[in-house]
Symmetry: none
Subunit: 228 residues, 2 copies
DNA sequence: TTTGATATTAACAAATTATTAAACAGCACA
DNA sequence: TGTGCTGTTTAATAATTTGTTAATATCAAA
């Protein structure tokens, strides 16, 4: 197992609960981050890339279910664990019905012992895969290594800027699929940031400049796609 | 996210509210249609078959509840989502008491963020096909891949322009069914855009030019249909 | 044959993306 | 605290594709 502390993002609008959970998780040796609503959760998660996210269901601005859905739709959170915090009154089945890709549910009121054993179990399950060779995306003659933030084109290293990388990673995560500008914006930019549509073009151009012209193709009026 | 725009019909007699909602939904990537009373709502809905209908409760001619009842009674709207717009003064429970088959309620005054998160949640619940292995339409010797925005004719790739593709996709989504010009316009063009009838002919022609003459047939005086 | 359609074509208009250069922001480092 | 990077965004313009119109030809049914 890697010695790096595993990161957990705790999201709840009640500071007391956040603190309670954070305290216990830290004592257990995890690196804990917090957010107080769904929006914040999404933007923080993008930054720190936690191994696990604990989401309260009911929150202002954006509830946990919505936040979960949004993140699940982003390729980089494909394998991030997400756990819901539910008040007793909210039936599990009801939540589960949203079918949003949660990995577990934890009932309030929080019982620290139970919480820890649950979290430990989930992350241990995961710990094995940490040992596995670094998840790389190999496609056409490119190797896209998210962990190292590098791209190799038949063995030759290509250094991309962050946005360029994210763009490539997104498109390449489902080759052939056309990504609209809207979707691209939602995935790569913070919700709050508003940028011109032209901004995407420019990044596409720089990306093409670096990796070559034969990977990203334009579908006029629709968007861009990865296509070898 | 599936690239097929989901269709939403917004029904309210106050143009300002319709505009506010339509603006926000469009920005979010939905295809928006409007109507200003229940009667109009029912007839428009039949034409465009929206994925979701937002109905104001209080309207002239036919109120939202009545419209909802009527549509729910029609088999083709069995699984269409319907959401009511209610003024604060109207108690939810009161509305709910009508038990008419609504999926949600949204309170006025409209708060764009809340509205969007609600609508997104409802529609995404439905569209978990996103994760599924790319939904293709296979018909006759054509494969119509909406995600890649491509058509294959016995293995050979055919690139269509956006409108051509939409046209083919619409017709092929229900082979044999005749689509009137009116319905085609409502489905493929924005509500606001008005184009000549001849415009459709031209697109049909270009489509036939690219995929061949044996797929789209004309029903004179009525419209077009897909027929192998 | 007349009439009310649709088909066809080419010219034109509109919309979208590409390209370039320059402004701007953040950061590491002297 | 400035200075020079790197990376990001904007803005302006060019290039290209796509969409629309209009005019004419053709067709099919009454």
């Amino acid at each position: 197992m890697s010695t790096a502390k595993q990161k957990i993002l705790v999201v709840d609008d009640e500071p007391d609960i956040v603190e309670l959970i954070a305290y216990n998780l830290k004592r257990e040796g995890y690196q804990v981050h917090t957010a107080s609503n769904g929006q914040e959760a999404v933007s923080t998660a993008k930054k720190i890339m936690p191994d696990l996210i604990i989401l309260d269901v009911m929150m202002p601005k954006m509830d946990g279910i919505e936040a979960c859905r949004i993140m699940r739709a982003m390729p980089e959170f494909k394998s991030t664990f997400m756990v819901f915090l539910t008040a007793r009154s909210e039936e599990y089945s009801e939540i589960a019905g949203f079918n949003v890709g949660a990995d577990d549910y934890i009932a309030k009121p929080i019982k620290p012992r139970a919480l820890l054993s649950r979290i430990n179990a989930i992350l241990r399950r995961n710990a094995h895969s940490e040992e596995l060779p670094n998840e790389k995306l190999e496609i056409a003659d490119l190797v896209i290594d998210r962990e190292a933030f590098l791209v190799f084109k038949d063995g030759e290293k290509i250094v991309l800027a962050k946005k360029e990388f994210e763009l490539l990673y997104l498109l390449a995560s489902k080759p052939g699929k056309v990504y609209t500008r809207e979707v691209i914006l939602k995935n790569i930019w913070e919700d709050s940031v508003v940028v011109t549509n032209r901004t995407i073009d420019v990044h596409i151009r720089k990306l093409r400049e670096k990796i070559g012209e034969n990977y990203v193709s334009t579908v006029k009026g629709v968007g861009y796609k990865f296509e070898a």
